[in-house]
Symmetry: C2
Subunit: 224 residues, 2 copies
């Protein structure tokens, strides 16, 4: 018998408690734990049948990519989050390609797409979980779109640096200007220019290692 | 008894045929036909409980707006299309504000949000219709995002002019540069500059009335 963390799965998938014993057993047989190293590509654009993921521990970045390789981060998923667009083969009407990378060493459970799909046809709770999760990711993506298209670069950059510091638990960020540009959907040159401005204002300092946040207070003012 | 077009509704809402007689009757009691004039605002940002719409005849534009009034068109809905984000009060996790305008004189049915919600808790087909529709609009919005962020302005503008000509059924478009800029999420100045370039190339001509497409072939080359 496989060792899986039922307590975790019950929390990640609130519909689980509605399943009959036999369906619950069936689901367990179609769940597997995977581990990824920091930097691993988990899903590659058009491969869209990885399955429904629940992140036990780690951090995923979900993004889109242009033909020329420009990236835009749509959202990140952390401990306890569920990724359903990694099973978009079972979703009607999802027609865009997504990439998923592990940003830290990550352990996650994957439910096979076909097994999830079968349950969604039987339980209204499973189907409702799909629409709730898709709606949540839709909102995340729209937030990013509003940020990129409506918000000035200084504000976007300040918000990004503060979020990044929270995620890393440190005010020293080992990240390149190129990576920041990809995250916030801007040009590298524009990011470099704005970082130089932040540096002149004493808000950050930049070095080859990355970026140090020196004045959180000023950064917060720009972000809000 | 209200006169409603059941054949139309059966087609717009494929779950209808799964409803019990009493639920179908209940639904009919909660449907109303509305008519809007060209240019009417149907939904205003945070008012998100208009109800589930099915467009009998007409054209709606769904868009987001920045604090400064900049607009970006997410998608349009035409005859037979259903709008579910106009009932986002009954959807979990939809957290962005949308605007809906009638672009032509429009007749549409609206199902009251509470009535739809009650059905979605009872019928898996109704819940599945929510996730399919939300997923379709999510894909539409991502397509727009990719267009705006990844695609060059000449291509975006060419695609927009061709789509607009198809919608209007005419190569003469009565539309301002400002309106085009809002549609494609670009700056007015950039649109004007590109239109001048198209004009110099003999692709279009511009006048106070709007834009005439002169060379569809060239426009198609730029669009593809």
């Amino acid at each position: 018998m496989k060792s899986i963390d039922i307590d975790f799965l019950l929390k990640a998938f609130p519909f689980w408690k509605s399943l009959k014993q036999s369906d619950s057993q069936q689901l367990i047989e179609n769940i597997q734990m995977f581990t990824y190293k920091k930097g691993d590509r988990i899903q590659n654009g058009a491969d869209n049948c990885t399955g429904v993921m629940a992140i036990k521990k780690g951090q995923l970045r979900i993004y889109i990519m242009s033909d020329e390789g420009r990236e835009i981060t749509l959202y990140r998923l952390l401990d306890g989050d569920v990724c359903i667009l990694s099973a978009s083969c079972i979703l009607k009407n999802i027609s865009f390609d997504m990439y998923i990378d592990a940003e830290t060493d990550t352990e996650l459970y994957i439910i096979k797409a076909a097994a999830y799909s079968a349950l969604s046809k039987k339980y209204i709770e499973v189907e409702a979980f799909i629409s709730e999760t898709v709606a949540a990711r839709f909102s995340d993506a729209m937030w990013v779109m509003e940020q990129i298209l409506f918000m000035k670069l200084d504000k976007r950059l300040a918000i990004f640096l503060l979020e990044e510091a929270n995620l890393e638990g440190s005010d020293t960020l080992s990240i390149t200007h190129e990576q920041i540009a990809n995250h916030i959907g801007s040009a590298r040159e524009a990011v470099t220019r704005m970082l130089k401005y932040f540096q002149k204002e004493g808000i950050i300092s930049t070095s080859r290692r990355g970026i140090d946040i020196l004045n959180r207070k000023k950064l917060n003012v720009i972000a809000n």
